[in-house]
Structure formats: structure tokens, C-alpha cells
């Protein structure tokens, strides 16, 4: 070898001059100069395979792009690495790869969560019994897991893959479990608050959106004040959701955490009555409007303005405020959403003898939660489907309602069957009250801002209203929606307000250019935009079947409930769902299939997909579908994620010298040589292929949940503790201090980024439960636990005694090639200087 690096050459990359060593490739020269050129198949340990095509660059004087990983530099070479043409080539290559990538980067549950909560992550943390950490992870996106864990409509559960094998994981109940555990713990999670910034933010409205925005703004160090019209904070959470679903103490506790963060809440302050937007603007650096949509819509049926007709939302609010509302013996509720169900069940609890729920469509089409519907049925609410009230009967108060039957017709634009009244089917229902729950609207009195229809208009990129410095989110922007969307909107607004406060507004960063664009309000909001959160890039395993999952079906762990029969409902507002026991939760967490990719945070391929803004490919039928191969005890193979870069084949041959993997051209596949199970090949289980793979096609075959869910993990460079080669490696530890992975950096070191199986996979002993934790002393034949003081004074006393009786030569010490130099040095010093003998030896020969 003894390569003498003769001269260094001059090259120009993207307009700047650099020096590089002769014989380097363009890519090596760029990397050595701290520049990066995209690459997937380059590895300093391997000969250039030049398979992926990502490293293309333009070289002056060369007509077509060249691969930087295999093109040697020459003196005076001029290289361009990121022209539009090159970006296009790379983008097309990435798209090709994703056209055959049947895999999930992010778990479907996480993708489905409007707030983007890392569902898979917190389930994993619960499975590891790290409840506080689970709450910390949840609170990165949702500060109110105890509330949301009780009332969410659970889009995550609809998306959950477990639906194919026994029903979705009880995600929401797990979240609630973690929240309850954390709530009761002495060391419950408190976010770190940054140093005060000196900026002040006013938040109008203390519903889910306002509270969330306040939480995240306070963490950023801004002085945050909430103005609430009602006597107590919470908005719809307090006044729209009955306490048998969301107990007030849970609500209070989660709101109280804001006080710990220094948030001020001023209740009985109504915008337009007690304060104006102008006033707020003059004393605060930014204003956030989280007004909600709390005014019940009128049902528009004949004679609906007489006594005894109540809007659902007003009904619930009054019950909440006064504990009671006078009703007759028979009540009809009109509507199919959660407010309708809540009103019906609340009416029962107030002593109403007969509660009807009238809905114009079928049960399947009810927007309310299935579970809530079931509960209402069990409690005795009588459902009347495919029916619409058309007229209220009575002159000064309600005596009954006239209804008409509805018939189903052809599907409408949204795909739902249309409905039309069936003439002649009218009938009369004798009731004393009619509660209408047909929707809510925003009331933005006191704010001179532009509405679009019934909601506040904002720019979806800046979340700003037509008034500069005034932002909005939540139901007031999206029209009534689920609480978790308001949470998502509140957080997004907080992020933007934070940027707005910290740096002079450079609207270009988030809008499409001109300052005016920041205030241009968008007419139509898509579902994702209403929360304002951009979805992360993720490949998706569409079209998956039960067979693909390859797991046995297991049933959902049932939620322990307060079972209420009809007669027991009266006056009973205690929480119905009692919450999982720890045993239930751990069992349920095990049902999680860990759908999201283990490499989602450090996948070279995904990182490039994000950088090049690739759209996930939806054409799953054209993708190859493979079964994940877990047959080898160490190496897990998931060919769905393979991009055929052949690095694994190369490293196993070129570096390891084993050649256990091969590329089959005809099938464009990587397989163990001979297409037999890897464990039957010559594979040495070194894991070198795993270290080379740019994706998660080859990963360590681990137990479920054996990973860290916070990113990045703590990485400690150190030396291997096994053989005498002394390979350099990195221990990856999770928050609890558990070493869960060993990695390497291909650098100038004795092993150059290579490791053997022991070094790479032999780390489990570190946190093993059988490690010695405390000194032991032999007593009465057995070893019993002792304190350091006891143990050391015993040893000191015995050694001294023996030395005194028989001389220092009667004591021998065995030091160790397992311990450090420092340990060994101190050991021999002890033997020689303290005991006074040279009887010290080690296993050098063993």
C-alpha cells in the first residue's frame, strides 16, 4: 500500500474552489471538503458500485452528467452538483425506487392523527413501561392526553392495521392510561420552559385551540394571557362535553398545567363586551383567536321558536353551568352527531322518562362515535332513523312534533346515498321538549376580521387573519370539528406565532412570496390544511391484507366500564369508562404491530425523498409484495424496502469475504446465495450488510419495542469490549440509559466502520437484569446483599488479618484483560503498595 499522496489538486465545486487529493473521486473530494452530494450506494468501505444514480453531477466539458462516486477528479475540474437538470434526474430515480417500495415509513395511525402524534412511539413507550416518557412524547404534539384520550373520535384507530387481525389497537385508551398514570405519579412530566423572551401574546378563547396555543407559546418563553368569556376555562371541553365522558377534575388538572408554565387565564372576559381586538393588539405582540363555534345553529323547522325547543349546545352548557335544566317527561333530540348523543344521554340523567333520538339517515351514517351510540342505546335512548322533524306542535309550549319518514336514494356527490322525504309518511310524536343538535357556528363579535361563510378566514400557510399579527385556528376556522384538530391548529399557530415573534416577519419563509400573500386568505381549506400541519413524507403499504400481516388475530382488551342500566342513569354523571389497569394496558400495547419503519428517522432513502419532495407512490398494485423474512436470528430481511443498490452483496463479499448474498438480475432481487434461508448459507451474522444498507431492507432482528422512540438517541463513541482488535463503535442509549443499538462511523480507525457479530450485537449484557447491583457477603452459607461500607470493611479487615498472620505473600490478586488500563493500574498498585506483594497476574495467556 504505502500510497504516497503526492500533490493536491484544485477543483471547483458549485462555484467554489477546493483542494483535493489525487486519485479521489468527485464524491470523495466533496465529502472530504465537507460538501455533500446525494448518494445511496457509495460506502467508503466498498469499491464504487455506482448503482443508485443519485450522485450524478455535471462536469464542465463533459456532455452528459457523470456519477460522482466513480469519476476521478482531475486538476482544474469544474463540477456542478445541483442544477435543475440534475435535480430532475435524481427526482426521477427516487420516484422509480418508490414505485416499488411497498412499505410504511410512518405508521398509519400516526399519519391519521390530525395532530401528528407519534402513536406508534407512545405505544412502544407504554410497552416499555415508560409512562412519563410516553406522556412527554404525546405532549410534543398534544398537551392534553387525558382529555383527548377520553373524547377523541379516534381517526388513528380507523387507520390501525390491527383492524385486519382482531380489531384496532385501543390507541386512545392507551393514551388515556398513560395520562392517568402520569397524573397520579409524583414525578409527572413537566415540559422545560425557555427563558423569557419579553414578548406577550393574547389568546382569546380557552377551548382546545386556545389552550394548546398557550401551552406551546408558554414553553417558548412568551408571556401568554388567555381571555375567556365564560366563568371557567375549557370552552366546549367544559360546556359541551358531559362529565360522564370527561370528568371535570381531569379537565381542571390538564388546564392547571398551564399555570405551572406561567400562563395567565382571565375568565369572564368576552371579546366585544369586555375587551376589543384593538386593545389587545396595542398591548400584546400577537393575538390568537381560538373562538370556537359555540353558537347552536337553528334547525329551521316550522314553529321552532316556542318554549320547550332548545339548542343542544345551549342545553349542555346550561347543565354544565347550573347542574340542571327543566325538562318534561318526554324529550326528542334531533341530530346524529356527538352533541345529539350527549344531549340525549344528559336528558336521561336529568330524569326524563323517554328520550327519542331522531336522525334523518341510517345508523351507519351517524357522525357520532359508535361507542357513544351503543352506550346511549344501552341506557335506554330510543333511536328513530330515516326520520326528520318538520313541525313543532303546540302554541305556547311544545306538545309534540310532526315528523316525516325519509327514503334512501342514489348516492350523491360525496358518495353517501341521498335522502328524500316520503310524502304521506308524516306522523306525530308526543313530546314535551325538542332538543336540536344540527350544527354550530362561530360568533366573532368584536373582531373586525373577514369571515368566509360562517368561519374566520385565514391564510393556511401563515394562519394569519386579514389583520396582521392576528392569528386564528380551531373550530372558528374549520367549522365545528373534533377537538384533536383544534389541538393541531393551536400548535401550528403557536409555531408560527413563535417565528413571528422571534424574527421580524419574513413572510416569504412561509408564504408564497409577497408580503400581501401572507394576508391573502384562502377560500377553501382541505382537511389537512384546516389543522395547518404538513404531513411528513411516508411511503405507505396500501392494499395490505391479513395474510400479509402474518400475525394471529387477537381481540381488543375490553375497557372496564361503569355499566348503567336504564334505571341507574338518573342523576349519575360519574365517568363511565373506568380506564385500563396496567395489566390491560401492557397487554393491549402488545397488540401493536409496529407498522412504522424502524429506520424512519435515519433512512438515507427517505431523507432524500424529503429533500427532493417526492410524492408517495399510491400504485401499490404495481409494487412487488414480499413477506418479511425473520428466519435468521440476527438479520431481518424486508425486501419490500430494498432498492437493489447491492451494497450488502458487495460488503459481504468484498469486506467479509463470505459472499452469502447475491443479486439476481432476472428477478432484480437480492437473495441469500442459492435462494435458501440466510441461516443456511455461510453467513457469519456479522451484520456488516445491515450497516451498509441505506434503507431498512436489512436490519437487526430484534424483539418488539426494542428501540428508542425519541430521536436522536444518545450516541457514545467507545471501544469494543470483546476481542483485542479494539474496534471503534458507538453505543446508542435510550432515555432510560438502555443501550439498544451499536453503530459505527466508517472512519479512519482500526476497523474502519466494520464490526463483527459480537461487537455489533453483543450489547445486551449491559442492561441485563441479572447484572450485579449491590455488594454480596457470604453469611451462613449463602450470599446476602450488603452495603458498600459493610463489604469493604469486611474485605479490609480480612486482608489485613491474613497479611498480619501469614505475610503479604499469602494474598494473591488476579487482574484482568477485561478491565481498563486504569482499573488494572490501580489494581496492581493496590496489591503492591497496600498488600505489599507482587502476587498479581492476569489472564494474558488464557
Amino acid at each position: 500500500m504505502e500510497t504516497i499522496v503526492r500533490i493536491s489538486l484544485n477543483i471547483k465545486i458549485d462555484g467554489k474552489h477546493y483542494r483535493a487529493k489525487e486519485n479521489q473521486t468527485i464524491l470523495e473530494a466533496a465529502l472530504a471538503n465537507g460538501l455533500s452530494i446525494p448518494h445511496l450506494c457509495y460506502d467508503p468501505r466498498l469499491k464504487p458500485g455506482a448503482k443508485c444514480g443519485m450522485c450524478v453531477v455535471e462536469v464542465a466539458g463533459v456532455s452528459s452528467p457523470v456519477k460522482a462516486c466513480k469519476t476521478k477528479i482531475s486538476d482544474g475540474m469544474v463540477v456542478n452538483t445541483s442544477t435543475e437538470a440534475l435535480k430532475d434526474i435524481r427526482k426521477r430515480r427516487l420516484e422509480e425506487m418508490f414505485a416499488d417500495h411497498w412499505a410504511d415509513c410512518i405508521a398509519p395511525c400516526t399519519l391519521a392523527c390530525p395532530a401528528g402524534t407519534d402513536v406508534q412511539g407512545y405505544i412502544g413507550l407504554i410497552a416499555q413501561k415508560r409512562y412519563r416518557d410516553a406522556i412527554e412524547l404525546i405532549k410534543q404534539t398534544n398537551p392534553f392526553p387525558g382529555i383527548i384520550g377520553r373524547i377523541c373520535t379516534r381517526p388513528c384507530e380507523d387507520a390501525c392495521r390491527r383492524n385486519l387481525a382482531g380489531g384496532s389497537v385501543s390507541i386512545c385508551w392507551l393514551k388515556r392510561f398513560a395520562a392517568d398514570m402520569d397524573r397520579l405519579s409524583d414525578t409527572h412530566f413537566k415540559p422545560a420552559v425557555k427563558l423569557p423572551t419579553g414578548k406577550k401574546v393574547a389568546i382569546v378563547g380557552s377551548g382546545a385551540a386556545g389552550l394548546t396555543a398557550a401551552y406551546y407559546l408558554a414553553i417558548e418563553g412568551h408571556k401568554t394571557v388567555i381571555f375567556e368569556a365564560m366563568p371557567q376555562p375549557g370552552g366546549m371541553l367544559r360546556y359541551g362535553i358531559p362529565s360522564y365522558r370527561l370528568p371535570k377534575d381531569i379537565l381542571d388538572d390538564e388546564i392547571n398545567q398551564l399555570f405551572e408554565l406561567g400562563v395567565d387565564i382571565r375568565t369572564d372576559h368576552r371579546l366585544g363586551r369586555d375587551l376589543t381586538l384593538d386593545e389587545l393588539q396595542s398591548s400584546y405582540d400577537a393575538v390568537f383567536l381560538g373562538l370556537g363555534a359555540q353558537a347552536g345553529e337553528r334547525a329551521h323547522i316550522e314553529n321552532d321558536d316556542i318554549k320547550g325547543v332548545i339548542r343542544g349546545i345551549n342545553f349542555l352548557r346550561s347543565v354544565s353551568l347550573q347542574g340542571k335544566v327543566e325538562l318534561g317527561k318526554r324529550v326528542a333530540v334531533m341530530g346524529g352527531g356527538n352533541v345529539a348523543i350527549d344531549s340525549a344521554r344528559t336528558a336521561l340523567r336529568l330524569g326524563v322518562e323517554k328520550v327519542y333520538l331522531i336522525y334523518r339517515r341510517t345508523r351507519d351514517q351517524m357522525p357520532a362515535n359508535d361507542l357513544e351510540i351503543e352506550e346511549a342505546e344501552r341506557e335506554g335512548v330510543e333511536f328513530i332513523f330515516l326520520t326528520s322533524p318538520i313541525r313543532v306542535i303546540g302554541s305556547d309550549r311544545v306538545e309534540g312534533i310532526e315528523c316525516i319518514r325519509m327514503a334512501l336514494g342514489d348516492p350523491d356527490a360525496s358518495g353517501r346515498p341521498s335522502i328524500r322525504p316520503e310524502p304521506g309518511s308524516e306522523f306525530v310524536l308526543a313530546v314535551d321538549n325538542l332538543i336540536t343538535a344540527v350544527g354550530q357556528v362561530v360568533t366573532a363579535e368584536g373582531a373586525e376580521i373577514t369571515l368566509i361563510g360562517k368561519t374566520i378566514g385565514i391564510n393556511v400557510k401563515t394562519m394569519q387573519t386579514t389583520v396582521p399579527g392576528v392569528f386564528a385556528a380551531g373550530d372558528a376556522v374549520s367549522s365545528p370539528d373534533v377537538a384533536i384538530k383544534a389541538v393541531a391548529g393551536g400548535r401550528r399557530a403557536a409555531q408560527i406565532i413563535n417565528q413571528y415573534l422571534l424574527s421580524p416577519p419574513n413572510w416569504k419563509v412561509w408564504s408564497d412570496g409577497s408580503p400581501e400573500a401572507a394576508h391573502t386568505i384562502n377560500q377553501y381549506l382541505t382537511d389537512d390544511e384546516s389543522s395547518g400541519l404538513a404531513k411528513p413524507f411516508s411511503a405507505v403499504r396500501r392494499g395490505i391484507t391479513k395474510e400479509d400481516l402474518d400475525v394471529p388475530s387477537t381481540a381488543r382488551t375490553p375497557m372496564p366500564e361503569l355499566k348503567l342500566l336504564k334505571r341507574q342513569v338518573l342523576g349519575n354523571f360519574t365517568e363511565i369508562e373506568l380506564g385500563f389497569s396496567e395489566e390491560d394496558a401492557l397487554k393491549e400495547a402488545q397488540r401493536c404491530l409496529e407498522c412504522g419503519c424502524v429506520k424512519q428517522n435515519d433512512c438515507d432513502l427517505r431523507n432524500l425523498a424529503i429533500e427532493y419532495e417526492i410524492e408517495p407512490n399510491k400504485n401499490y398494485e404495481a409494487m412487488r409484495h414480499y413477506k418479511v423474512d425473520k428466519s435468521h436470528p440476527i438479520v431481518l430481511r424486508d425486501q419490500n424496502k430494498c432498492i437493489q443498490c447491492e451494497k450488502c452483496v458487495q460488503i459481504c463479499d468484498e469486506v467479509v469475504g463470505v459472499g452469502a448474498l447475491e443479486y439476481r438480475k432476472a428477478e432484480n432481487d437480492i437473495v441469500p446465495v442459492g435462494n435458501i434461508p440466510l441461516s443456511e448459507t455461510k453467513c457469519e451474522a456479522c451484520g456488516q450488510c445491515i450497516s451498509a444498507c441505506p434503507t431498512a431492507a436489512l436490519v437487526e432482528n430484534k424483539r418488539k419495542f426494542e428501540r428508542e422512540f425519541f430521536w436522536p438517541p444518545q450516541v457514545t463513541p467507545t471501544t469494543c469490549t470483546y476481542c483485542g482488535v479494539g474496534c471503534q463503535l458507538e453505543l446508542n442509549t435510550d432515555r432510560t440509559g438502555k443501550v439498544f443499538k451499536v453503530t459505527t462511523e466508517p472512519a479512519e480507525s482500526v476497523n474502519k466502520g466494520n464490526l463483527c457479530g459480537k461487537g455489533r450485537f453483543g450489547y445486551h449484557f449491559i442492561n441485563h437484569p441479572t447484572r450485579l447491583r449491590t455488594p454480596l457477603i457470604r453469611k451462613g452459607g449463602g450470599l446476602v446483599e450488603a452495603s458498600w461500607d459493610e463489604a469493604l470493611s469486611l474485605v479490609a479487615e480480612r486482608f489485613s488479618k491474613i497479611k498480619e498472620l501469614y505475610g503479604p505473600g499469602a494474598i494473591g490478586g488476579r487482574t484482568s484483560g477485561r478491565c481498563t488500563n486504569e482499573d488494572n493500574y490501580v489494581f496492581q498498585k493496590f496489591m503492591r503498595a497496600v498488600i505489599g506483594t507482587n502476587n498479581v497476574d492476569n489472564c494474558a495467556r488464557l
Binding site: Y825, T837, N838
Partner: protein
């Protein structure tokens, strides 16, 4: 590593792992490198395949590296010296000797020369079982190379004749001038992460840190001054001696740190008897090992992931280890436990960190003078490193040998302490496997590694198996004069007829129950590699 110290004046690997790529011939004797030192295995394969090096393997088993070898000398265990002398016989006969090197840098060649004539290839074939032609081929290959590197491990040292084996290797290297240059040298590959460091730090009965002899008054005086005590000048007991003296009740107490002699030492029954004869046994470890279970006091230590410090690798490279997590429960780093014990015995050692210890090492040890944690931040340093601005020493003995001139020794072939006989007709060698390490206290905790090699096995040649009516996969009993264990039979023609081989990692089937504690008279390394056994179906 006594042999090398006698011949060269230093017992360490003379060259570096990277040197493999510069060698034109690699001579690997008694090292199943791909299993024991996989990364060096990678390096050897690379040297052979990409850098055109020739590879000579000496091993009774068809180890994986044989696939890459130009010559494979399938030797009968215990006959290394005969083979090496045979090779030297050919080199001498064909005048592949480096006369200048011998004249300028060595002494004692004439005496060696005198004993070689009788080791003709044909005579050696009879002793070793290696065809005479292969011996000649290997000799010419090694002798003609301008840079030839020798690597060896336990296969060489774990013999009654271990020291002699090493001296014979040193003879071969010096005779051909393969010392003191890149791509050459004599390189003992260390089995454990820090055996090198344990020796460097004075974990030996005859030397203080940095191989400063205990009977060297000046050296001792330096340490006495620094430590403020009077130090004993008489060399202490080796560990083999300690075991003997424990058994005979002359040694009363032992302090064992980080070792598990109950599995690692030969002749487990004897070890157990020795340890039980002690009045007082202290074991300091990270697990309750078989040895710790016999202790009077067990002290819980931090593992490498839980403390700062340094290891010295096989090529004398001092490298950092860093704390990645907290020790479990009340466990503490070894150095801290020892310091506290020392204090309890009235001698305070006031170290606040591992770094402070290394500073003291540097002050008292010339070869470590230039090594500091600050410098180690930018990578390991190979000792000797006598000054802050010294880059470290990748190759030893470049100008002169550590002892001045290299010393040849006349080494004659002797038979193993225990040869097979009619009662115990097979020879057993013990070794390591790729996935387990030493006594498995650590690798045994990884499910994946365990699944790869969960139980002990014994490799046996098909002809021997047939004679005994054993088929692949049978449970068999392996018995020696010292004990009996069971294992699964692996019938394979990669092993020499008459020989069986077992890994020594398994506590439930400890191969060292069978091995012989007859030790090399000089180095006291016990004879692990060879003992006589019989096998029958269990």
C-alpha cells in the same frame, strides 16, 4: 508473551493490523482468525484478494481462511516446533536467509543453525503429518518474500511448549529479516480486549507498569517515591502458581477482578478445589459468575458502557472507552472500588476520574509519557509514545531491538504432555467460536447470538465418528482423565482424523473440565490446546 520478550525484548505485537495490506506473504499459525479476530480476518482476505498477498495457514482444522490460502499445512496439534524448524531447514538449505540482518541486528544464529539439519522436510512430515512438499512450498514462499508477516494466537501459546513455539517463530522471522519494517513482523493477536493493557499496566508478577522489572532497584525506587511506600522486590506468583498454592493452603486469600477462572482456566475441578481451599475470596465482576458464586465477598462492578477509561488493543494502540449509561444499582467502576478499599485499609488513593489515573501512569511509565486523554480524543495512540509530540510507534524494533540485538534460541521439538493412548485415543483441542466470547457471560445475554450457537458441540472426523458409531447430531460424552461432559457431535472432514475440537464457552458443558493444567515451564500458560480424550454416545 514471554517468548517474544526473550527474543526481542518486548512481548507485544511488533507491527500493526494495517500492515497486512503491505505484506507479500501472510503466515498465520494457530489462529482461527475469522472466528477469534474477525476484523483481522477481513484484513487478511483483503490483502489476499486485493493486494495479491500469499497466505500460508498452519492449523489442524480446515478453518475458513483456508479457502483463501495458497498453502494449508494441516498439522498434528503439538508439533509446531518441528514444523517451524522444518521450514527453517529449507530456508537455510536454499539460502533464503537474510545474512545482513542476521549479522547486523541479531546474535546466537550459529547455535540455531546447528540444530536445524536434522529437521528435514521428510523427517518433519513424520512428526507433523504435513507433506514434505508442502513444507518446502511454504518455506520458499515465506523465505522469498520481501515482506512477510506472521500472526498467531492461542493455538501457539496454549501448549506446554508455548514459549518455545514463540521463540521458534521469532527465529524464523529474524532469520529472514522480517522484523522492523512495514508488512512484516511477529504478531501475537490478543484474544481479549485489554490483555495487552493488563500486562502494560503491570498486571504481572515480575514487572511494574511499562514492563519495569520489580527487581530493578531504580525502577522500584521511582514507584516507591511516587506511591510513598516500600515495594517488594521479589517477583510474585503467577496465576497457575497461585492456584497450586491455594490448593496446598499456602495462599490464604485471593482478590479476583473481572475473571471467571471456573470456566476459563483448565481443569475446572482443580480450580474449584483451589478456590474452596482459600480462607477468603473476593470477586469483583459485573455478573454473579461461577467463580463469584464461590466468593466470600462479591463486589459489583460497572461494565465498559458505564465508565470512562482506556483499552490497549493488540497492536499496542491505547483507545478511549466512554461512559454511555449509569451502572446498575450500586455498582461502581473497578478503579473506584479498589480506591475505596485501599482507603479502608489505610492507604488513600485520591483519584477523581480515570483520567487522573492515566496522568499518573504517564508520569511513571516512559512508554506512556506522551499519552493523555486530550490527545486520545482525536484517535488512539500506539505505545511507546515517550513524549507529548511523539506520534506513537506503529512498528517496533525498526533500528534496534528493544533488547539491543535480537536473540536466536535453539528450540527442539518435544511431545505434548499428554498424548493419546489406548484408553483415551483422541486428541482434544479447545477453541472459540465466532458468536461467543470467552465464558459467554456477555454474549450469552444476546438472544440473537445465543440462537446462533446455543449449546456446546464437538467436531469429529467422519472416520472417527464411523468407528464409534456416531452420527452427526448425536449427543456424545467426551471424557478425559479429569472429567466428563456431553455435547452434540458435529461430524466434519474439516478436522484432522484423530482430533476432536470443542469451544470452551459453555458453563453447562465446560470443556475446561477436561483440559490439562500442565503448564509451559516458562510462561506458565496451561496446555489448553491438547489433551487426550475418549468419546462415546451419551
Amino acid at each position: 508473551m514471554v517468548g517474544l520478550a526473550k527474543a526481542f525484548g518486548s512481548g507485544a505485537m511488533t507491527n500493526s493490523i494495517d500492515d497486512m495490506l503491505d505484506a507479500s506473504v501472510i503466515f498465520a499459525i494457530g489462529t482461527n482468525t475469522t472466528e477469534a479476530h474477525p476484523i483481522i480476518g477481513f484484513q487478511i482476505k483483503k490483502a489476499v484478494r486485493e493486494y495479491g498477498a500469499k497466505l500460508i495457514i498452519v492449523d489442524p482444522r480446515r478453518i475458513r481462511l483456508v479457502d483463501f490460502a495458497d498453502v494449508w499445512l494441516q498439522i498434528k496439534p503439538g508439533t509446531n516446533i518441528a514444523l517451524l524448524n522444518g521450514i527453517m531447514n529449507v530456508i537455510l538449505g536454499e539460502d533464503l536467509v537474510d545474512h545482513d540482518f542476521i549479522a547486523q541486528r541479531t546474535e546466537g544464529f550459529e547455535a540455531l543453525k546447528a540444530i536445524l539439519p536434522k529437521y528435514t522436510p521428510d523427517a518433519v512430515e513424520k512428526i507433523t503429518g504435513v507433506p514434505a512438499e508442502d513444507i518446502r512450498k511454504a518455506a520458499r514462499m515465506y523465505g522469498a518474500a520481501d515482506r512477510a508477516i506472521i500472526c498467531y494466537t492461542l493455538g501457539i501459546t496454549e501448549h506446554v511448549t508455548g514459549t518455545d513455539n514463540v521463540l521458534a517463530i521469532a527465529n524464523l522471522a529474524m532469520m529472514t529479516g522480517n522484523i522492523g519494517k512495514r508488512g512484516a513482523g511477529v504478531n501475537p493477536l490478543r484474544g481479549q480486549n485489554n490483555v495487552q493493557g493488563a500486562c502494560d499496566m503491570g498486571g504481572l508478577p515480575n514487572v511494574l507498569p511499562g514492563y519495569q522489572r520489580v527487581d530493578d532497584n531504580a525502577a522500584r525506587a521511582k514507584f516507591e517515591k511516587a506511591w510513598g511506600v516500600t515495594l517488594p522486590s521479589k517477583p510474585g506468583l503467577t496465576e497457575t502458581d497461585m492456584m497450586e498454592k491455594a490448593a496446598s493452603c499456602e495462599l490464604k486469600a485471593m482478590y479476583i477482578m473481572g475473571e471467571n477462572p471456573m470456566l476459563a482456566d483448565p481443569d475446572t475441578h482443580h480450580v474449584e478445589q483451589s478456590l474452596k481451599s482459600l480462607d477468603f475470596l473476593v470477586v469483583q465482576d459485573i455478573f454473579l459468575t461461577e467463580t463469584a458464586q464461590l466468593a466470600d465477598v462479591v463486589l459489583p462492578a460497572a461494565s465498559f458502557g458505564e465508565k470512562d477509561g482506556t483499552y490497549t488493543n493488540t497492536e499496542r494502540r491505547v483507545q478511549r472507552i466512554r461512559k454511555a449509561t449509569e451502572p446498575p444499582g450500586n455498582a461502581k467502576p473497578d478503579w473506584q472500588i479498589i480506591s475505596e478499599l485501599s482507603l479502608a485499609m489505610g492507604y488513600p488513593m485520591r483519584y477523581n476520574s480515570a483520567e487522573e489515573i492515566m496522568e499518573e501512569v504517564g508520569q511513571l511509565t516512559p512508554s506512556f509519557k506522551g499519552i493523555s486523554y486530550a490527545r486520545l480524543e482525536s484517535g488512539g495512540i500506539q505505545w511507546p509514545c515517550p513524549a507529548e509530540d511523539h506520534p506513537g510507534t506503529p512498528i517496533l524494533h525498526t533500528g534496534t531491538f528493544t533488547r539491543g540485538r535480537g536473540l536466536f534460541h535453539e528450540i527442539e521439538h518435544r511431545s505434548s504432555a499428554e498424548e493419546p493412548d489406548s484408553e483415551y485415543p483422541l486428541m482434544l483441542t479447545t477453541g472459540r467460536n465466532l458468536w461467543h466470547y470467552h465464558t459467554r457471560t456477555m454474549t450469552g445475554k444476546s438472544e440473537g447470538l445465543n440462537a446462533l450457537a446455543p449449546h456446546n458441540w464437538v467436531e469429529i472426523h467422519p472416520n472417527d465418528a464411523a468407528k464409534l458409531g456416531i452420527v452427526h447430531g448425536d449427543m456424545v460424552a467426551v471424557e478425559s482423565r479429569r472429567g466428563r461432559i456431553t455435547a452434540t457431535a458435529v461430524v466434519t472432514d474439516t478436522i484432522l482424523q484423530g482430533l476432536v475440537s470443542m469451544p470452551f464457552h459453555y458453563a453447562d458443558s465446560p470443556a475446561n473440565l477436561l483440559t490439562n493444567r500442565a503448564a509451559d515451564p516458562v510462561s506458565k500458560t496451561p496446555e489448553f490446546k491438547v489433551c487426550a480424550v475418549k468419546i462415546e454416545k451419551a
